[in-house]
Amino acid sequence: MNKNLLFNLVLGAMIAATVPSLAALGESRLDAYVSMFTLEYFVALAVLRPRRRMRDVLAWILLAIFFTIVGFRIMEILAS
């Protein structure tokens, strides 16, 4: 199978599995979900290495959001 297509299928399956799993655990923090999506995106990206039509802006956006979430968490810990 085309690895570009496989990447999207794997990513879709991981996202579809993450949401009910975390919801079943009672997770109510949106940043936890987004962090998981980011992690899954980069794992799939590293394993399948799909080709992109242009620079992978989505990866940079997810990375920026992830670092922002981590930054806020660190600030929360330091402030308490």
């Binding site: 085309n2 570009n4 297509l5 990447f7 999207n8 997770e27 979900y33 999506f37 992109r52």
Partner: protein
Amino acid sequence: MEKLHLFGAGLLSFSIPFTAVSLLILENIPLTALGIGLIILAASILLTPTRSVPPQAVRAMLESSILSLEEILEEFEISKRGYYVRAPDGRVYLYVPLREDAGPPSCREEPVGLVHRESGVEYLVLVPPAAELVKSPEVSGTGFEPALTYVLIDLLEAADSLEVVTDGFITVKLRNVKSHVSAGRFKAVFGSLEASIAACIAASLLGPTRVAEELEEGDDKTIILEVLGG
């Protein structure tokens, strides 16, 4: 737009309002997360190329192969039109008569070497740029027009559209041809790149073929192929 990208755009246009409604009206975190997940997936689909190799790259590779064939033709000083003949291995070869034109060879076996001798007639044997393309299942498993549309329009994007008329000869009308390689001897022997591809497919599916004529009107092109029978 390709179907996959259309699906991605549709998914994105659904998931953005879905996320907003889930967060602001329903105030449901798992649904909001699902919406964000769908946005990520839709963006990923839109970033995915539908073809591994862009059509321009395939066309450029075929065009560059023309230049090396042009050098060979220059070296042998050949300018006679050749015959496209399918060998038993499924590959199409071009047989160019070296002296008098005695029609296409019968070719019961794969050619060995650069010169093929048959009944006292010598042919220069060359491999056309599309020789391997015609072995693909998308070409060999269909009719002439769908195969030609697949290669020239879908795969190479060599023209905007094509039309095939069969009346003894095969007439292929191409609209807005994009490939313009200037290689005089190649054109005299093989025909233009589009004609060579069309002749290769015709030879593979219908029998020995010759490019009878080519007419150009601006960016449009008419190719007339002569199928000489098996």
